[in-house]
Amino acid sequence: MKSLVAEFYKGIFKENPILVLALGLCPTLAVSTSLQNALGMGLSATFVLICSNILISMFKRFIPSRVRIPSYIVIIATFVTIVELVMEAYLPSLYKQLGIFVPLIVVNCIILGRAEAFASKNGVFASFLDGLGMGIGFTFTLSIIGLIREVLGAGKIWGYPVSLDFVPVLVFALPPGALLVLGLMLAIKQAGDKR
């Protein structure tokens, strides 16, 4: 039981996917322009991550290890596309908010990374917890980057201006700003770990 709790916990801090495993950096840099985007991407990725972890841990017995990676990619891509189609058809307002992130999730290496490193070796419930923890860690880190970039780069929080006469530092809304903020966060995390 104790180890199961640890599987959940590790994704949030000790093995945070962005800050420690350095996985999923591409969507991290691309989508963290605002808090709203970051949260949308984080939550969609968490959902897909949990489901793909469950699926992979269920199928792991039937898939020989030498063809596992193409199989995982096909399973994950299929699942993501089904989610996208169903969401677009039945939940159009949610799709409008999250739709652009869904195709990006397929190429999010956290999903394949966890399938490979965890779900293919562990049981269904442990994989579920791993996915949940990793997803929360990803969402949390992404949201902080998004918040910092939105305040500095657009002068806004959640789409509302912080002050009416603040001139934003545009570079933070652009890719260099993403690298700067991410780099500083990595440094802070490292400094904290060293202590």
């Binding site: 193409p70 399973i75 009416l164 545009l170 652009l174």
Partner: protein, 201 residues
């Protein structure tokens, strides 16, 4: 059965079988879901485009597709023609910008709406930026600014312009490509509409 798969050749066959099966099931599932959801998705898109038509041509009560051309004719309650709406698009900086434009009978723009765009956040997206009148602190305190959804300030410039006076629209510095793409798209659409209206007469 087992023994076949233990030989080297059999092992390869097994890989092919598993991978083939995974792909087959995936393809089957996908085409099933796609066939089920596609009509619904099309309906959603049509509905969104439809509400945009009412937005860009105020005063119109019903819309009718033109017989020849690619535009819609907006009519009021008595069935008189109020104006026309059309969709137009142009390549922006990083995406295709799709617009819905409404014009009155004299060819003056009555409304314009961006149906889809995926421009650079903070730069190109300023074509749909709405000028803010209240800060987040006001929002938290419950002080609301104007509640009505307002028009992006860049698009507001188009109102009342026709094909000739379109040059007066000022592009956005820092978003030159995106904003001039919008102008080009509108110009292209107006020219096409004019041509099609002539043909119809």
């Amino acid at each position: 059965m087992r023994r076949v798969f233990e030989s080297r050749k059999g092992e390869l066959l097994y890989f092919v079988l598993v991978l083939g099966l995974v792909c087959l099931v995936s393809a089957g599932l996908l085409s099933f879901v796609y066939a089920k959801t596609q009509p619904l998705v099309e309906a959603q898109k049509a509905k969104a485009a439809n509400s945009a038509m009412y937005y860009v041509l105020p005063g119109a009560e019903s819309f009718e597709r033109s017989k020849e051309g690619d535009f819609y004719i907006g009519k009021d309650k008595q069935g008189r023609i109020v104006g026309y709406t059309f969709e137009t698009n142009e390549k922006g900086y990083s995406s295709e910008i799709v617009l819905m434009v409404g014009v009155d009978k004299d060819g003056k723009i009555t409304g314009i709406k961006v149906l889809s765009q995926n421009e650079t956040p903070g730069l190109g997206t300023r074509i749909v930026e709405v000028k803010a009148d209240s800060t987040i602190w006001d929002k938290i305190k419950g002080k609301e600014g104007e509640n009505a959804p307002r028009m992006p300030w860049f698009l507001e410039q188009f109102l009342g312009k026709d094909r000739m006076s379109l040059v007066e629209v000022k592009t956005i510095s820092g978003a030159t490509i995106s904003s001039s793409a919008v102008v080009r798209a509108v110009k292209k659409g107006l020219e096409k509409l004019e041509k099609e209206l002539l043909q119809e007469k």
